[in-house]
């Protein structure tokens, strides 16, 4: 293992982030705050509690997930797309590093960023609504697993994309709808039965459900199912990444 290479990539990625730390943190924090004000305080006050949890509090895990998913994909896809775009990828391809090491560096960097952001948003939530965390360890587990999985997805998107439009298209067309329809703002059993079934095909449901369970002990699906589905998704992303590197897809001519 070329650990130094992983560290170099990781540090490089993090320093890119710190260079623009204000934008990187400010915009997600502001937008979640707005969600809390609008959905938590304004609309939430008219909503009944969900299984004994105040609606504003109910929102917290969903909103963190929403940010986690979008930021992980955005960070990771940009992280690998950029060297491709400016051409500095030549150095990665000619260095004595394995694909696995490259992925560790980039995905590790992107996941770290979104985990930090998730924690910052959690802290922000405390300002607006009562929050308690029943299973902190599980909360962290889901946070990390989700960040890693979606950073991998982002990495795939970044390699696949051959233009900035595509880089934004996937998050816009796929990630955002999946998160919005994945129960960020509601409990699945608030939906009509047909849509409940449809929703079960959405991987994000399992992430949000598991994450919310870690907070309040409420879950749409069992925690085991959540965990299994998360790992299935993680494995799927890993397989695709491995294939990409084996074939040199979009990396080598």
């Amino acid at each position: 293992m070329n650990l130094r290479a992983i560290k170099s990539i990781y540090v490089f990625e993090m320093s890119r982030w710190f260079r623009t730390i204000m934008q990187s943190i400010l915009s997600p924090v502001i937008s979640t705050s707005l969600y809390f004000i609008v959905f938590g305080a304004a609309i939430g006050s008219r909503m009944t509690d969900i299984e004994g949890v105040e609606y504003g509090s109910f929102l917290v895990p969903g909103l963190i997930m929403l940010m986690l998913l979008t930021q992980s994909t955005a960070n990771a896809s940009f992280g690998i797309y950029f060297p491709k775009f400016v051409g500095t990828i030549y150095e990665l391809l000619s260095a004595p590093v394995s694909y696995f090491e490259i992925v560790c560096g980039y995905v590790g960097g992107a996941a770290t960023k979104s985990i930090l952001l998730g924690l910052i948003i959690l802290a922000t939530a405390y300002l607006f609504v009562p929050v308690h965390i029943l299973h902190p360890l599980w909360m962290v587990t889901f946070l990390v697993l989700t960040a890693v999985t979606f950073s991998l997805l982002g990495f795939i998107i970044g390699i696949w994309a051959d233009g900035f439009e595509k880089l934004q298209l996937v998050p816009l067309l796929i990630i955002t709808p999946l998160t919005f329809l994945g129960g960020s703002f509601y409990s699945i059993d608030m939906l009509p039965p047909f849509w409940q079934t449809v929703t079960l095909f959405n991987p994000v449901v399992y992430l949000i459900s598991g994450f919310r369970w870690a907070f309040y002990g409420l879950a749409d699906v069992s925690i085991t199912t959540s965990l299994v589905m998360t790992f299935v998704f993680l494995a799927a992303c890993l397989t695709v990444v491995a294939r990409i590197f084996q074939t040199g897809y979009r990396l080598k001519s």
Partner: protein, 319 residues
């Protein structure tokens, strides 16, 4: 002695990208041995396949067939061992605009798995006159400085083999000299250097051996000195005391040319020929009564050799 790089039956066809781009055969069965510690110059016109060849050895482009051994290591199966020895300075300037010079250079060292060594990095940056720019963002460098930064990045990880793909493009005369001095120093310290250049004088001045590639085929590999002797035409010019209007009929057999508005008679001969015909020529010139005050001989440069070689290639049809 074992070659430091051994390329065998290497071919590369770039895949077609329908609808616009057809498949393109950029390298055709290239065989090449690079000797340890030499400076090898790869010459060839635009689009000949120089960058493609370098990119395959370095692992950036995948070969369609053939094999590359770097110090005995297959560059695909044992890519780690192979790449660890190689430093690459690509033709294009690819840089991270927003990072500082020092950080990008240190990054390269880390990527090759070497422990941080600020003293080495400083030495490299000083040699390339970049030390006082070390805290600048890369985008704040001039083009020539960026080119040197690319060299610094490659040297940061102490390669044993250095590929320089047109390293002096966009570098001013003064710095170009510095750069060649650096290349000589590197060679003296045992580094093997493979370079491509469009400035043929540079190959002529620097290289131990020269390879000429044209349309994807390596058409010649030769010691520079041998090449120049073998293909070199020499010219003998007689500076005349009085101008001539035409070459006298008595000298027609020597196929002379009149140059410099009639004040020079030029004779071309092949250095490899058994008889150069110089003695006979000088006798005839004297007997016709032509007087001359100077004799100059001139060897054809690598550039001339190169141009004649590429022209000779039947596939080559220039507009």
């Amino acid at each position: 002695m074992q070659s430091v790089i051994s390329v065998t039956h290497l071919s590369k066809t770039y895949a077609a990208r329908p609808p616009r781009q057809a498949a393109f055969e950029a390298l055709k069965n290239v065989n090449l041995e690079i000797r340890r510690g030499e400076i090898f110059a790869l010459l060839g016109p635009n689009g000949a396949g120089k960058t493609t060849l370098i990119s395959i050895v370095c692992g950036i482009v995948t070969a369609s067939s053939g094999q590359v051994l770097v110090d005995g290591h297959d560059n695909v199966k044992e890519y780690r061992a192979a790449r660890a020895k190689i430093g690459l300075v690509p033709q294009e300037l690819h840089t991270d605009a927003f990072e500082t010079v020092l950080k990008t250079v240190s990054f390269s060292r880390g990527l090759w798995g070497l422990a941080p060594n600020p003293a080495h990095v400083e030495k490299v940056l000083r040699t390339l006159s970049l030390w006082d720019k070390k805290d600048n963002q890369v985008r704040a460098l001039s083009g020539g400085m960026k080119r040197r930064l690319m060299i610094a990045k490659a040297l940061a990880h102490e390669p044993q083999i250095l590929f320089l793909d047109e390293p002096t493009a966009g570098v001013d005369v003064e710095l170009r000299k510095d750069m060649w001095n650096l290349v000589r120093q590197l060679r003296a310290s045992g580094v093997t250097i493979i370079l491509t250049t469009h400035y043929i004088q540079e190959a002529e001045e620097m290289a131990d051996r020269v390879g000429v590639i044209s349309k994807g085929s390596l058409i010649l590999v030769e010691e520079k000195a041998v090449l120049m002797r073998k293909l070199g035409k020499k010219q003998l010019a007689l500076h005349l005391t009085t101008k001539l209007d035409a070459v006298p009929a008595a000298l027609a057999a020597h196929r002379l040319e009149l140059a410099a508005e009639g004040s020079e008679l030029v004779y071309s001969y092949d250095t490899q020929a058994e008889r150069t015909g110089i003695t006979a020529l000088l006798q005839d010139v004297a007997s016709v009564g032509i007087r001359f005050n100077d004799v100059v001989t001139k060897e054809s440069s690598l550039e001339e050799i190169f141009v004649s070689l590429v022209r000779r290639d039947p596939a080559e049809r220039r507009p």
